[in-house]
Structures are given as C-alpha cells and as structure tokens.
Amino acid sequence: MSASTKRRRRRTRGAIVAVVLALALTGASSARATPDFPQAVVEDLGLPGITIDPPQGCKLCHPTDSGGTSLQPFGQLLQQYGVQPYDESSLKEALSQVQQNEPQLVTDIEDGRDPNQDPDAANLHSPRYGCALEGGPMARSLSSMGTFVAIALLRSMRRRASRAGHAAPL
C-alpha cells in the first residue's frame, strides 16, 4: 500500500470518527441506512444501475452494507446538504447541490468510481484535529517524556529550595 493511500485511508477514518463524534456530542439527528436511497441515487443521476458496491449500494454513503450511524465522506457530504433519513426529496435536493458544487464527485459515480476514494471528498468536507504532531505511539511517548521532564524539574526545584533553606520540613 502506498504512503499516499495510507494517508488517505487514515484521513478518511479520522473523518468518519470525527463526524460520528460530532453527531453524538450534540444529539443531532443521525443518518441511518435508508434502503431506498441507493436506487434513488441511480434514478436521480440517470445511471444504468448501482455502480458502487453492487448490488446494495450502501457503501456509497456508509462504511458497511449494514448502514448505521457511520458515514463515508460522500455520505457526510450529502448530510451536510440536508439529507434526512427516509426523505427522498431531501436526497434529491442534496444531490443537486453536490452536482452544482462538487461535480467531480458525481462524475466519479457516473464513471463507476467510488467518490469516497476521491481525495476531494475527504479533504474538502471533513474537519481535521490537532497541530502537526502524529498521535498514537508518539503521543504515549510524549506523555511519558512530559511526565519525566516534569518530575525532573520538580526534583530540581526541590533541591534548589532545600539548598536555599526554604524547603518545608518533610
């Protein structure tokens, strides 16, 4: 797997986690798999059939065919344009907004490509968190290092205070 693919996947995973977190935090109405939506996308875009993840087509918006609250970047985008579960008119409106504002994603679908693999889908519509440092094992190392430095500083301060005769009796 290339480094850019890894980065893209990590970004996509981060985006999904972030949106689920954000939805959960505010008790927002969550998107769920709506069985009619894939067919509605086909009809709205005038496609010959399900071109992404046939036969169900759930993965156009969700990471899995079981749907749920997690969304792929394209699903997030539709939600941002106002899609409501079980409401095909809101889907139609959202798709027209995508067509207007992100036409390359619609082209992806029409050409049988997964728009979620298009870097534009992940980059344009998902918040990213943090500064520049990578987390994971590095975060744990930094935490340990920070604790070590803090203890060392405190010990040094204590020694200095003892030398100056200001230390509290132990």
């Binding site: 500064c131 994971g136 803090a150 301060m157 132990l170």
Partner: protein
C-alpha cells in the same frame, strides 16, 4: 421498522452519551457557595473557576472544607501540609501554581432494546500550571487521552492523543487582580461551570470544560458581589481547516445578592462557515439564566435554563433548550448526595423533549482523593420519521469514578 428506528436513535444517543462520558471532567464545584464563596478567584487561578490550577488558598480550602476529617475539627484555620502540590512533598514558590488530575471510571450503559455496554474509561490525565510574574500571567495544561477530546488535541490521530485544553497569557489590570485580560485557548464563559460536563445545558451550548474551549481574548472581573467575563471567540485553532472554526462572543455576568445566593445571565453567538456537526454554515445563538442558592449550609440548589437557536444553511432552523436543577446535600463534610433533573430539546423537526434524572454520591475521602457514583435514567425523545410519529427511548447509565488530583 419503527422499532429499529427507535433502537437506532437510542444507540446513537447512547453512543453520544458514552463518548461524552468517556471524556474528561475538571474540578469545578459551584456548590462551594454554601461556605459563602460566591466568586471563583480566591481558589482558582482561572477567574471563572473550573479549569486549571488552584491557588494556595484554594488548596487550603479544599483541605479544610472539601474533604472528610474523621472526627478532627474541620474548622481549624490551618490546612494540612498535605494539601500542597504532590501532597506537599514539593514546595512551590508562590508565583507558581501546579496541579494535575487523573480520573478513571467504570461506565455501564443500557439502551432499551440494545446490548449492555460496559467499559473502563480514562476520563482525565492532565497536568497544568499557572505562573504569575508581577501582573503577568501564563497558564497551560497538557494531558493524554486514549479516546475522545479531539477538539483539544495537539496530535492528529483519532485515538491516543496529546491534548491541551487550555493555554493562555494574561495581564492583571489592577493591583488585586480583580480585572484580568487574557488571550489564548480558554473555556467559554457561559452558565454554571461545573464538573458534570455532560449536562445537556453544557452540551447543547457547547460550553463544557472537556474540549469545548476556544481561542480568543477575554476580559474578566470579580469584585464584591459582581463577577463576569466576556470573550471574543477567534475559533478553535486545533480544528482544521479554518472554515470549521466558530467566531463570535460568549459572556456571563453573575450578581451575588447574598453570600449564599447568586443569580446570573449568559449569552453566546457564533458563526462557522462549516459547522463541526452539521457541516453547513451555522449561526448559533444561546442565551440563559442561572442561579445558585444555599438555603442552609448543608443544601445547595443549582439551576440553569438556556435557549439555543441555530440557523443552518440547507438544514433549516433549530430552536431548542436545555435546563437542569440540581440539589446538593452534604450531611457530613466531604460526603455529598446529589439529585439532578434535566430537560432538553435539540430542536430537530418533530423532536419531543428529552428528560433525565441523576442520583449521585461523591465522597472526598482523603486529601487529593475522591470517589463518585452516578446513576442516570434518561428518556430520550426521538424525532418523528416522515409519515410517522415521535417516540421515546429509555437509557440507564451507571458511572463509578476514582479521582486523584495532585
């Protein structure tokens, strides 16, 4: 289909609750008004309390007034030496206030119709400090979270991040530090700043002490019966890209009519080009009233009611509210029994109001150590699906916490 929809909503809301509870809590005890403390500054380095280090005086009061003394006279004027940083082992100069928090919890959550969820959660593992040189102040916090608190993250992965909830520079504008001008990342001044950061009033207004801090400039004051803070919000620079950052203001003012009664009002307005939740341009308004009252020293009543209105491009408008009332009874110093009732409506189309009740016990059993148990029963309103009717999902939550502060 409707049953599965209800379960879906319940699971989503419960997952939200889990994530909320999976994140940190801070020291913020507004029920200290029972001892006549209407303001925060005597004990907290943050002028509005709640976040960051305690002052030396605050540490002394935490020893004298907060914990159980087991037969010793609690009215002694002299705090135990162990009230200091690291139990008093490390003496600090007066200008340097350091602290730390570690809070671990066992979390159990049962959503009607869904499997039981149980896990251990590291709620907080933070170190923080405040330096005062003349009239100049600098404060900061750093911590580690295995999960959550992304909006306070310094690192960039979905889990295992180094975080900084607060970091700011300030200058005291008068000799006694009643006026403080600050710039940096700070907790938003709004409503009652309290340890229960998952209260709907905090969540819906996005003003909790967990990871909802923002960058900006703030002016605070605390003198006699009046205290308040106004903050110009420049956005959370730990979120990228810039279009997700909220800009606006947040403010509160509180008047202590008596030494045991304080009433206040809060206001907030922000605009984000792309809202972190809804992903569209969002104008967010919140306004509210709050009060703290100790009719007798053993009982404190805390209440807050906030209206929240959001104008969402392509997603219409959402007008909702959140309110709570909490009674804190302290039959024995250091042992608290709390009952809290909440109501909330997020403002979705056709969303019925949600309600919950908390029964909580907190015991400050030793210097620097306390235990807490919460039982929460929630009735969550589920918006009506197209052509259907609204419904409710019931959730039962237990949370047992162990807390050590340095």
């Amino acid at each position: 289909m409707r049953a599965s929809r209800r379960i879906g909503w319940g699971v989503a809301l419960a997952f939200g609750l889990a994530l909320l509870l999976a994140t940190s809590s801070a020291q913020a005890y507004p029920w200290m008004i029972r001892h006549g403390y209407t303001g925060c500054m005597p004990c907290h380095t943050d002028p509005s309390g709640g976040a960051g280090a305690l002052t030396e005086y605050g540490r002394a009061q935490s020893d004298l007034l907060l914990r159980t003394h087991y037969g010793q006279a609690s009215s002694s004027d002299e705090a135990d030496r162990t009230s200091g940083f690291l139990a008093g082992i490390v003496p600090l100069p007066e200008q340097l206030r350091l602290g730390g928090d570690f809070r671990e919890a066992f979390f159990s959550n049962k959503v009607e119709g869904a499997p039981l969820q149980q896990e251990l959660i590291t709620m907080r593992a933070d170190l923080y400090g405040d330096v005062k040189v003349g009239r100049f102040r600098a404060a900061g916090a750093i911590g580690y979270v295995p999960e959550g608190d992304l909006e306070a993250s310094l690192t960039t992965t979905p889990t295992d991040n180094v975080i900084s909830r607060e970091h700011w520079l300030g200058v005291e504008l008068d000799d006694d530090g009643a006026w403080l001008l600050r710039g940096g990342r700070m907790a938003l001044p709004f409503g009652i700043r309290m340890i229960e950061h998952t209260l709907w009033a905090r969540v819906l207004t996005r003003t909790d002490l967990d990871d909802a801090q923002q960058y900006g400039a703030s002016l605070s004051f605390s003198r006699d019966q009046l205290r308040g803070e106004v903050m110009a919000i420049a956005g959370n620079f730990q979120i990228h890209p810039d279009e997700y950052r909220e800009r606006g203001y947040s403010a509160y003012v509180e008047l202590a009519a008596l030494s045991t009664l304080a009433v206040g009002a809060s206001s907030l307005f922000t605009r984000a080009t792309r809202d972190i939740v809804y992903g569209v341009t969002d104008y967010r308004y919140a306004n509210g009233l709050f009060a703290r009252y100790a009719p007798v020293p053993s009982l404190v009543l805390l209440g807050e009611a906030d209206s929240v209105y959001q104008s969402l491009t392509w997603n219409g408008h959402r007008g909702g509210y959140a309110a709570f009332l909490q009674a804190d009874y302290e039959p024995l110093q250091g042992a608290h029994l709390m009952v809290t009732g909440e109501a909330m409506n997020g403002g979705s189309s056709g969303e019925p109001s949600s309600f919950d009740a908390w029964l909580s016990g907190v015991w400050f059993l030793l210097p620097h150590i306390d235990l807490r148990l919460d039982g929460i029963v929630s009735t969550l309103g589920v918006p009506a699906p197209p052509g259907g009717s609204s419904s409710y999902t019931h959730v039962t939550t237990w949370l047992a916490q162990f807390h050590v502060f340095l």
